[in-house]
Structure formats: structure tokens, C-alpha cells
Point group: D2
Chain length 351, copies 4
């Protein structure tokens, strides 16, 4: 994971700024002869589009992905797959007032500190828009792991402090908030409206489950599966915490309670979350990520300008009330990418 590339064998590089001409991804190392069309990728992109969900901003991007290379007559060729999404609705001028101001909670101040320059429009590279490239690449990764019988599904486990209790993943797929508990979802929607009315934003927790993953994926001791997943998920802009299996609750368990007894038909419990010593065990992989509230709130905030002088910033632009549920396909994409990479790595030594 160096710079804008992730992966050892299945390598994804994303590029693009929020208000530049386009954003995209290059995927190198995709196995050949896998059926792939723009529509396969478009389906994933549509899930993270703004404007279709109750928590969403009104910004509308066609988000049409174009496959520029690596696919021939509907099949991958093994060469790099270049994916591009034009930024069709980029009102850069809206951000002119932010050229010299740092928005609290955003990367404005750290990009400036690092590079001494930044594209201030819409957060530039640090914008959530960058994740379009991740989702596009994740769609390709999902095809690879799908051929091995692996599925990745995520849902809203908590939003604005309201937790989903009755997990019905099937319900999540058709729910506007991708929430598996219709009753909780109703309360989440109310919380979202309250927050929007208050010019405020909400955080939440996403749960991700991987099914059908064979045992044996992951490389000790630094290339562990859980290390890779945690790094990939923590690298999503909004994420402040990652846990696997029992997670933080494991810190309060005893060994006797936490160990998962092993039976011929499988593990009796799954506190490990499908990973032991960094290698998949064949059990479900279960992850939870904590998402902070979107920092773009409408009320005036205390800040400094690029010269270090105190200032008040009022963030305009079009923003969501919560990254949930739009962040969910991004979480899934990152998990698919890490799994695809490890699947290929394991094939190299298993044959």
C-alpha cells in the first residue's frame, strides 16, 4: 500500500480529483478470460451515486464508466484495465471561497502541509469522489472472487447512534439505507432528518460479511489477511475504527469464552471473525468499521486560513448528512480488492 496503489498481484491504482476532468482507476494483474462489461461496473457505481438515497447530497453525476483497455470482445485479456469516469457536474467555482481556508475535519490543512499546494475544489483528491475509482475496481475484484465462490455483503449496523438489532441481510439489500432491520431504519431516517434540519451530520457503523472464502488466504506475518483488510478499510476517508470478529469486545472476554471450539463440521462460534493468525479459516469473515460524521456541516466553524490567521468558515457546496449508506459499496469494494489479491497470491504457492 504505497501512495495510490494497493495490492501485490491484483494491483489497483486510482487517480483523479473531485473537480478535475475525470477520475478513474487502473487495474493491473487481473487474470485473463473473465467476462467483463461496462455494465458490470456501472451497477456498482450506481450504488454509490449521490442523489438517490435519503442521506444524500443533490449533486448528480452521470458517473458513466468507460473501459479504455484490458478487455477484448467482452473478456479480460490479462493486460491493465483502465477505467475512466468523467466529472460531468463539477461546479468548481462554488468552492472559490475555500481557496484559502481550511475546513475543520477535512484534509485541506494536511494536504497543504504535505504538498504546499492543493486543489481546493471539493476537497480535490481527498474528496469522497475519489472512491468512484475504488468502487469501479472493486467490481472487477468482485468478479474474480465470485468465480471462486466468495461473496461480500455489507450493511448499516448503526447510524446516528441507532443500532440495527434484527439482522436480516436480505432486507438490507432492498432497504434505502441498506439497513437489515426495518424498524431501526425507520428511526435512522428520523435521525437523518433531524440532523439535516440542524445543519448537522451523523456517523455510523458498517458491518461487512464475507461468505464462501476458502481457508488459507493471507500471508504471515505482515501480509496477514486481517492486516490487509484493516489497512484497506481504515484508508477510507471516513473510517476511524476497524474490528474483526468479536473485535473490541474480545478485550473483555476470557480465553475460555473467546476461543472458538473446533468441530469436524466447522467452528462452533466465530469470535475470531474468520481469521486466525492472519490466515482465513473458512468461517465467515466479519468486520465492522466506524464512520465519523461528515465534517461538512452548514454552521460556521472556527478555523485558520492558509497564512495561519484565525478565520470563520462556512461550508457551502452540496453534501450528504451521513456517509452511510453511500460508503457501503466502498467498504465492499475494498474488501473485494484485498480478497482478490490474496486469492491470486495463494494460487501462486498452492499449485
Amino acid at each position: 500500500m504505497s501512495g495510490n496503489t494497493i495490492g501485490v498481484l491484483f494491483r489497483v491504482t486510482t487517480w483523479g480529483e473531485s473537480h478535475g476532468p475525470a477520475t478513474g482507476a487502473v487495474i493491473d494483474g487481473c487474470p485473463p478470460r473473465i467476462g467483463l462489461s461496462a455494465a458490470d461496473i456501472q451497477g456498482e457505481l450506481d450504488r454509490r451515486r449521490p442523489g438517490v438515497l435519503p442521506s444524500a447530497s443533490p449533486r448528480r453525476e452521470a458517473d458513466r464508466v468507460e473501459i479504455l483497455s484490458g478487455v477484448f470482445e467482452g473478456k479480460t485479456t490479462g493486460t491493465p484495465i483502465s477505467l475512466m469516469i468523467r466529472n460531468s457536474d463539477a461546479e468548481g467555482e462554488t468552492y472559490e471561497g475555500l481557496r484559502d481556508l481550511f475546513r475543520p475535519g477535512h484534509g485541506d490543512i494536511t494536504y497543504q502541509a504535505k504538498y504546499g499546494i492543493r486543489d481546493h475544489r471539493g476537497g480535490g483528491r481527498a474528496s469522497g469522489r475519489e472512491t468512484a475509482g475504488r468502487v469501479a475496481a472493486g467490481a472487477v475484484a468482485r468478479r474474480i472472487i465470485g468465480l471462486a465462490g466468495i461473496t461480500v455483503l455489507a450493511w448499516t449496523a448503526e447510524l446516528g447512534g441507532i443500532a440495527a438489532r434484527n439482522l436480516s441481510p436480505a432486507a438490507a439489500e432492498t432497504s434505502p439505507l441498506l439497513c437489515p432491520d426495518p424498524e431501526a431504519e425507520e428511526k435512522m431516517r428520523e435521525r437523518l432528518q433531524e440532523a439535516r434540519a440542524a445543519g448537522d451530520t451523523l456517523g455510523g457503523i458498517v458491518e461487512i460479511v464475507v461468505r464462501g472464502c476458502p481457508a488459507g488466504l493471507g500471508e504471515p506475518v505482515f501480509g496477514k489477511m486481517d492486516a490487509g483488510l484493516a489497512g484497506a478499510l481504515m484508508g477510507i476517508g471516513t473510517v476511524k475504527g476497524v474490528e474483526i470478529g468479536a473485535g473490541f469486545a474480545a478485550a473483555r472476554m476470557t480465553g475460555n469464552a473467546c476461543n472458538d471450539p473446533i468441530r469436524p463440521e466447522g467452528f462452533r462460534t466465530n469470535h475470531a471473525g474468520g481469521i486466525l493468525a492472519g490466515i482465513t479459516s473458512g468461517a465467515e469473515i466479519v468486520l465492522r468499521v466506524a464512520c465519523k460524521p461528515i465534517p461538512s456541516i452548514t454552521r460556521p466553524q472556527e478555523t485558520v486560513d492558509v497564512h495561519g490567521n484565525p478565520a470563520i468558515v462556512t461550508v457551502g457546496g452540496r453534501h450528504d448528512v451521513s456517509v452511510i449508506p453511500r460508503i457501503i459499496p466502498v467498504c465492499e469494494a475494498m474488501v473485494c480488492i484485498v480478497l482478490a489479491d490474496h486469492l491470486l497470491r495463494q494460487r501462486a504457492i498452492a499449485s
Copy 2:
């Protein structure tokens, strides 16, 4: 982070099994002309030694590190630093009964699934002993970041469900459990003794604080500082969760409460934990990791053998009651290693 190597410019490769001839690390990319002696490294290793703490196993290793290359007349030369620690007290025969059995909660079953072979003695490569190489390499990393004014300090934030309340980091340094709250520590010791008497083990939470880190370290979008730290920490065998700044609590905050207002003299709060958009902000970096209870409990456990038949395993050997506090220098080492790598990476583009 591929296989047993971590880092882009400051690269650490560890090697060695629990009961093989030795364990060690090779550090490539260390800048030249840094004063370094075996004693510098030994001091860190001694902090993770078994047998010196109330939670510890009676296994005693001299753990003498030998510098085999890369240091000339007391200074690093820029060439690879090879560090070796002989395994002097390795009673491999103790583990003969575990040759064909998988211990619950351990990597036995996943290593077997991945490789079709494993060194069963003491967990082989998956043993906590592997972390000696990490700690040795971390001592070198600590020298590098220390020259830049960065310090890394970790302590016991929670053990067996008992949380430290009054954080006095200075107290932690001299405390046997590296706990900053003497009152809480007293209760932790009681919990440890209860657990030991019950043949059981305990988990806990380690808090890590980085001070003096300049703004600008970390590379978007996959090589982010928080992604790197989370991956490195989740790659420690015992860790099931990682959070940064407000962490999981951020999921329940509103944007207005979570954003850290910026003032000319610095951030007013630090819910971000010192990292914004994956780049350090100059504020303290604050991390917490959840450690599961050690899976080596003394009571018989349900399991299967290598042929998949049901079996009962009773784990002998010498084991700690909790990875805390021995895991603390390992956590610090991983953070030092990630910081050193990013510090060098930033120098490449900053000059």
C-alpha cells in the same frame, strides 16, 4: 505489506520460528550515520521478555540480539542491518502432543490449511516469539524518528475489563503492568491472579500515543498514515480491533461535535487522533488496539486433529495469562516502523 516484509523505504523483514535455531530481522533502507549499538536494541527486547512481569510465562530466553551487518564502528552505514536472536531455551519436545492437533484460537489450523505443513512446536512462525524481530527492528526505527523529535509511548488502557481512568503516562513507565493508573493496576493484578487460578486468560486494550510528529506524513489514498498504522497493528497476532482518535465513539457523534476546530495555536480538540485524510496534522496521534485473551488456556478444549477427526486438546507449555503488558513494546515497535517509513517517504518529495 507483502509476506514477511513491511515498508516502502524503511523495510523490515522478520524471520524465525518459536523453536527453530533463531529468530531475527533484516532492516533495509535505514539512513546512514545513525549511532546504533546492540545495547540500544537490547533495551527494547528486554521490555518484551517473558518472566519479568506478573502476567508472564516462566519461559526464560536470554534474548541476546546480535548485529550481523549494517553497522560499522557504532554507526549505521545505509546497508542492510541484520539482527539475530538465538533461541536458547526452546523445549520443542513439550509440544510433541500437538503435532497432529489444532489448538483453538491459534493459527495451527490455518497454517495447515494454507501450507499443508507446519512447525507445530510452540506455534512455529505464528508464535508470539516472532515479535522479537519486530521489537528489534522497532528499536532502530525509534532511533530514526527520535532524531526527528518523534516519541511513541503505549500503556495498558484496559485489562480484564478494568479500565485505567486517571491517565498518568509517567506512572505507566515504571508500572509492572505499564498501567498509568495505579489504582486500576491493583485491580488488574487481582484479575490476573483469579484468571491464572482458573486456568483462564484475559484480554485488554493498549493505548498508543505519538508525540512530536510533524504535519504532512502519510500518502493518499492507499498509503495513508492511518491505513498503515491500522494494518501494522492489526497484523499483531493478538489484535482484533484498532481505532484512531475518537474511534468507534465517532460513529455516535454529530459532525458539529466531532470536528476539531482549528486555531492558530493548534486544534482545539483531537477527535481526529492526529490524522486528517490520511496525513498527519501535527496533533498527537492517538491509537487504541483491542487484544484478545491468549488462547492457550489450561482446560481441555474441543477440537479436531489434522485428519478432521474430533479430539480434545489440553495445551501444555508455558504461557502468559495476558499478552498485556508484553505486547506493548510490540505495538510501539510497529508504530515506530510505520512512522520511520513515512518520514523517509516524505523527505523524498519535500526537499
Copy 3:
């Protein structure tokens, strides 16, 4: 150098097939605040365009580069620079007869063996057209090393067996064949016309000289400067040999003759070619690469089809008589890319 990416800190990934929608490159790790415009890159691309030189094919591509990211208000921002060149003049149907036939000397048969599928149109990924992305990226690299005072210049040292004798690099820059010896160039042009009339093609030798390179670039022992340059140059499709300094002639010298005596003002000779033990010495870096004749000859050739049956192939399409001089900007680009990467790597440890 894995797959389609080269570099550790200055990383270039190219993508695109000869007759797909576009070809391009993503550059990750470019330092910020460097002035860069499409025109800077276009100038380099124009040097490798078909149709402008006596040895060239009649295919004409506008070869207009578009900067899609990483540059803001005329300066690099430190984020990935995505460059795209549309394939405007791609007559894929010309190649229909080659769908099932392997052209001798081309990668058709090996791509099929590796991937079990290939884009047969114009060589697909193995086409010389792929080098457009390299040249575009090389233009960015040239800016970086240029700021450090390093220049890279290559010329035609030999073509069709005719060697340039009087090296006047200045003459090379304005010469149609980029040949520093006008007399030799006249003979080369005759040889080219003879070969074209015979439906045959010619090989040659390119010499590359790097001036102004500071001492100290290159990383022992596998990341040596000469190793990096040789790998990068041998990775150009047409190249069958690389030598540095005295090169193959050094194999026939004695140590006394080959050693370059050192004087306070510099090396008395330069048989080393500017590199000692893989690290630059401050002297000129001198490289020569052997280019094979273009395999696309017009006369019928013995081959097999994709089923392994014997066949005769007649290569149509539009082809050059020699890769020289169009390969010269590609050689320069690869050298610029390797130098830029090592320059950044050295900065990381030198400060």
C-alpha cells in the same frame, strides 16, 4: 518492476492496446509544485510520432495527450497524474486476417501462451504504440531530473550496420535520423530505402548519455542504478542487448586498462560509464542498446496458427522500416523515469 508498473517512489503505470479506445499512463509519486502543462508532454510525444521520419510508417495519430488529474493551475499537486491519448486512427479491421495467426518475431504467440486470449489488432498490448504512455511519463520525469540539473540525450549510433563515427550530439538533435554524424546518416538513409524496397527491415544501436547526474544515486545490491537502467531498457520491445560504459569491450580489457584513474577534478577515463558498484559516480552515464530489426516484414513467412497448424502469414498494416529513430525518445523516457525514481529515493536518506 512488476507487471505494468515501474518505480519505487516515482511510479509509472502504463495501459492501453494499439487499437483500443486509448492508451495512457498514471504517474504516482511526482513531487508537488512542479510546473507542468500538456504542451510539455506533447513535445516529447511528437518526437515519437509515426509519419514524420524517413523510416516511418504512414499511420498518423494526432497523439494529443490529455492531463486528467494531478495538475492544478499549471503545477503538479503531488497526487497521481493521469495522462490519456486517444487512439484516433485505429484501423482494427486491417488485422482481421491475423486473428488466428502468429506473426514471427512478435509477441502474438507468447501472449496467447500466457493468457489464452489476446487482442490481435496491431499487436494489442505488445504494440509499439504502448510506448506513447512511457514517453508521456518520461516527459514528467525529465522535468524532475531537469530541476536537479540532469539531462538525458540519445542518438543513433548505428543503423543497418552503418555506424556513426564522428559524434556530434548537437547535430543529432536536428537530424531526421537523430544521427550525430551527417555522413553516416546519408548512408543510413540509403540503407533504409534499400530495405524498404526489399520489403525488409533494419536494426541498429542507440547511444544514451546522461549529463549532470550527481554522485550517489542507486541502491545496492539489487536496486543498483545500472540494474535499473538495464532492466528498463531491456523492457523496450525491440531491445536485445544493453551495455554500460565500455560494455562488452570491457570483457576484452585488462584491469589496468579498464580501471578509471581518479583525479581531484574527476575520472581520467570513463570505462565504468558513470556507475561504480551500482551507484552513480558523478561522471557521464553512457549506455548503448541493441535494437533488433522490426519483425513486420512484407514477405510471406512460415508460422503456425492458434491451433498449432502450419501456415503462411503475410503481414499487412502500416509499419516502419526501423525502430530507429522513433525508439530514441522511448529510450530517453525510460532513462528519465529510472533517474527520477532514484533521485527521490536518494533524497529520502540524504537529508
Copy 4:
């Protein structure tokens, strides 16, 4: 190929200075369940030992390799294989006079320029002794490719200007100079004695042939097989040129003569040297490398000291007259390492 590590999946890191305590290699990514013993590795090391060949120095090292990890009960486990060779006969004090002087043709001056410090004893890291770790790792690589039916054999093609004409590879294996032409070898031995008498040294050319390599290994466009081989071979201290197949002679051929016609039973000629478009074709891979004469000559040489003042250096120590034939196992090792890495990489996408 960054710093002291080579490979993507089969990764070799070497460490150690000529006169430090030891030298060695860590191999990460070796597939599990491959029979491996210290004797397997020792056999290769013995081939590059000093003191056993007519061109050799009198320095005698036991060169006993110790396997410190990664092998259990005679088989690889998939975990890192750490190999160590103690430096038993290191007369560091011999080099005291060279502490402040740069030997022409050596890396003394460039290491000092790069790092501002160096271990001057015997060339430190730049010593030929470093290659012991490469050869040890190459022995492991040879096991992996051997299981796939691939063999690597190199011999002396030229020494001191005398070329082997009648290539009988079988003869080379038992020849003291690893020369396949007994008649030429006789003359080479005479040249070696003349050079030794004159206090001078000789260069030569090594030819390497890979047999049994399947088609399809190598990754376009920067991870090509020929790029990887050229980089690995040029990274050997003594090498100044690398060519593949027809090599530099290809530059003087026409396309009609150079193309290898394809027949159902294979290629009619092999000017390509077994690689087309960077991917192996199934034909023999043929490489030649140019080795410069050893720079350690006995006569006084013009140089400067570390302060830049003119000086005369007389190189003492114990030195060979030619790197041939001791460099031959090193060439083979590098080729084995690159092939093993590509073999694993291909398995990842081929299954």
C-alpha cells in the same frame, strides 16, 4: 528491485559485509513442502568458493551455510528461509591502509558519496563476498524451478579475449574454468598466468542457457522476463553488458534474417533467445553477460583520498585474476531467482 531485495512473490533479501560477522539471505515466498537441506545449498556455495580454481584468490572461507528458519524436518514450510554464512577468515586489518583511499574501479568512492560513511574493509557491502547470499538463495530457487523441469546452466564463453568455439556444455561442468571448449580453456589458463605475473586482471563473457522453461512466463510491460533477467544480471558487480538471443548482433541483421520462423514442432531458429515481447516462448533462453576485469590490480594507481587530495593507492589483500569462473554460479543464481519469481507469478493467474 528496491534496495537489497529482489522479486515480487519469491523475494530474496541479502545482507552482510565482506569483513563483518556474517553474510546471508532471507528468502520470503518460497512454496511449502519442498525438500531442502543445508547440503543442497552448500553444493552451490562450494562452486563459488575462493581458492579452488586457477583464477582464484588464496582467501579461504569455510562458507558453511546455516539454515535458521523456514525448513522443518527437511521441508520448506512456506515461512521465511533465513540463511547465514559466518565470515570465518576475515582479515580486516589488511585493509587499514584503504580506510581513507578510494580504489579505482571499486565502489569505494560511490558508497562514500552516497552514504557519507562506508565499511572500507574488503569493499564492505560492495564486495564480491555479498554474492554468497545470492548463491545460497539461488540454490533454493533452483529447487523450485527444477520441480517444473527448468534447468539453468552457464559457462565461460570468453576469457581474456579468448573465445570458446566448440560449445560442449557437458565439458564445461567438469572443467576448472567451466569452459565448454578444452582447447580454448588451455589458452585461457595461459592468459590467466600471464596476467597474474603482470599483476593484472582479465575480463570475460559468460553464457547462460535455460532449458525446459515453459512458454508464458514474464509480465508485460515493465515486468518482462528479459527486463527482469537483464536487471538481475547487470546488478552483479562485475557485469557491464547483457544480451539476449542474437543480442548486439541483431542490430546488424535484417528482419528477414532475424525473425525466427515458427513450425508446429517449434521455432526454426532462436535469434529471440527464447523471449518474445517479454514473455517466454518455450525455446531455450540464451543470455550472455560481459564481465569487466577485476579492478584489484597490484600495480600502484592514481586516485584521491576521502578529502579529495591526489594519492597513489596500492591494493593489497587477496584477489582473483578474473571473476570467471567464480562469477558463473552467481549468474546462474540470479537467473534461477528471476525464473522462480516469474513461475510463481504465472501460477497465480493461470489456474
